[in-house]
Amino acid sequence: MKRVDLILSERELDAVIKAIEAAEAPGYSVMRHVTGKGPHGSVSEAMDFSGLGANAHVIVFCETGILPKLREGIQPLLDYYGGVAYVSEAEPL
């Protein structure tokens, strides 16, 4: 099986989750309040009070077969808004 890690702005979380559900992944987990730095500059929690938010880290454990559909939904969001997505191997405990 695969493990997908997505890191992107909290503001785009809803769209990403829609894409994950459209790909029929069996589930996902979300961690908010993630800060960091990437090609588009650094993201802190300092503007949290404004509703701008920080980043979110989304983890999806799924079968390999789901990846193409997932990529299709998520890649355009990452291209437009920024963020990263990586895949690695993972087996059930």
Binding site: M47, F49, G51
Partner: protein, 333 residues
Amino acid sequence: MDTSLVLQNLLTPPVLFFFLGVIAVLVGSDLEIPAPLPKLFSLYLLLAIGFKGGLELQHSGLGGPVLPTIAAAVAMSLLVPIYSFAVLKLKLDGFNAAAVAATYGSISAVTFITAETFLESQKLHFDGFMVAALALMESPAIIVGLLLVKLAAPARKQRPGADGMQWGAVLNEAFLNSSVFLLVGSLVIGVLVAGYSPHSVEKMLPFTDKLFYGVLSFFLLDMGIVAAQRLNDLRRAGSFLIGFAVLMPLCNALVGALIAKALGLEPGNALLFTVLCASASYIAVPAAMRMTVPEANPSFYISTALGVTFPFNIIVGIPLYMALINKLLPAAG
């Protein structure tokens, strides 16, 4: 007189705690007010300012200068982004120019609140309907900002997931973003409660009224920290944007004060109107721009509004605008 007003403003707790936050960053202290505590303060301030504005709006009604003032405020929030955009395009691309322009068309609730506490300290009266003006200036600026983007970049890449137009999301951001929604909602609740449940007003006041000044001071401590953290970004933004962030508020304040005079506002309301014109949004607009104009660089519009214009207004601007109004409306002097 100007200097004494500036000094009087400087030595109040809200402004001093703002400085304390700035100093904390400059000297390298690890003082921080961790999320979501600043959000608690900001939700509280919006709720309280809205509620109190509603109470007073119920008493003042919609007669007299109320509707003209509100209309003028909305007009300013449409106009300011347009001439700001023209100036900003001299140096910035269309996306960034539009995003910064929208920011200056909109308002800063905390600057408004600080101006109110300044007026109270000057024992000058002001009206609750100014909060309605405040509430109605955020949305138009956001919409003009988006129209400017369309104008500047007609062949822009399609937003993923948006079918054809993205107006749904834009209008949502403009009218339903949390700060506009909470402010307007609390205003309406204030109006209703003052009208139909006057006995419960008194039970709300220890929370919405008595604590207000202290919470504002506490929040400004955080704002000082955040504004100072933005100073680095500013250097990158360059002297053009820094100059814009000081001169544009002055210019908007002048226009605002003249309109206030034309509307025949009394000095307190005139100052609030001027401050609305001169302030720039770092709450609703950045959140909306991040969503709808991701091509723009947030450090441009946040740093100018929060790192320069906001401190400028609460430290120097408010008393300066007061002096200007005292000049323009001699009766008040």
